[in-house]
């Protein structure tokens, strides 16, 4: 069971989690990720996408996750348009019987979404607006899943304090 939505409207994390849990009473673990517009220098952020391809790319990523792990339900919502600091950009929610599968699948979906789904961010700052550059670290985050299907690669999530 998977739900994918690309839209301007905000989402409510509690309602999304309810929908995940209701999809299958056997789910003991729900992991979700929410991406926010960071404060600081940014006045606003505009998300553009490639209508049609976006939904297909997200569906393919979710299907890949469902092949790798036993998941009860997956929900992905990605907003588009102009967002202010603190606003929610993306929700990925995964329900599974076991927490390891839920954590792994949620992170997997985010890593692929960041590198394979056709969204682009333009930031507005006091100095004007500019397109955000892709980060090489996002490619690395994705690539670590390719070494062995279904496994989490080593020493990649270290916190460089």
């Amino acid at each position: 069971m998977a739900f994918i939505s690309v839209r301007a409207e905000d989402f409510d994390v509690a309602s999304e989690n309810e929908a995940l849990a209701l999809a299958d009473q056997q789910a003991g673990a729900v992991v979700n990720f929410v991406g926010l517009v960071r404060g600081g220098d940014i006045a606003a952020m505009t998300l553009e996408h490639y209508p049609g391809m976006t939904e297909k790319a997200l569906a393919a990523i979710v299907a890949d996750a469902q092949r790798r792990w036993q998941l009860q339900a997956v929900r992905v919502i990605h907003r588009i348009g102009r967002l202010l600091p603190g606003e929610r950009i993306v929700y990925v929610g995964v329900a599974s019987r076991h927490r390891q599968a839920a954590f792994a699948a949620c992170e997997f979906i985010m890593d692929y979404l960041k590198t394979e789904a056709p969204f682009w961010k333009r930031e507005e700052t006091a100095a004007g607006s500019h397109w955000v550059d892709a980060r090489e670290s996002d490619d690395h985050a994705r690539d670590r899943w390719q070494s062995s299907p279904g496994a989490t690669p080593s020493a990649v999530r270290a916190g460089p304090k």
Partner: protein
């Protein structure tokens, strides 16, 4: 043959073009199309020079060697930055 070609984000801004119908005779694959479009010169040279340009054919990630046929939808864009 005829192709629908789309441009996104910074590339679209640089080209001043979001999408076009391109007559594309003698085009076998994405690389052929890219070279033909770059032949317009000016900002279109970005199609050759952009280090990490991405391409999708019929809304799936593709590469320079992906073959093209009549009516295909081809999109060029910079690396994605969503999430």
């Amino acid at each position: 043959m005829s192709l629908r070609v789309l441009y996104f984000a910074g590339l679209r801004d640089a080209l001043g073009c979001a999408h076009e119908e391109a007559a594309a005779d003698g085009i076998g694959n994405v690389d052929d199309l890219r070279r033909q479009l770059a032949g317009r010169g000016g900002p279109w040279l970005a199609l050759l020079e952009h280090k990490s340009l991405k391409v999708a054919v019929n809304q799936a990630m593709a590469s320079l060697t992906t073959p093209l046929g009549d009516g295909d939808e081809v999109a060029f864009f910079p690396p994605v930055t969503g999430g």
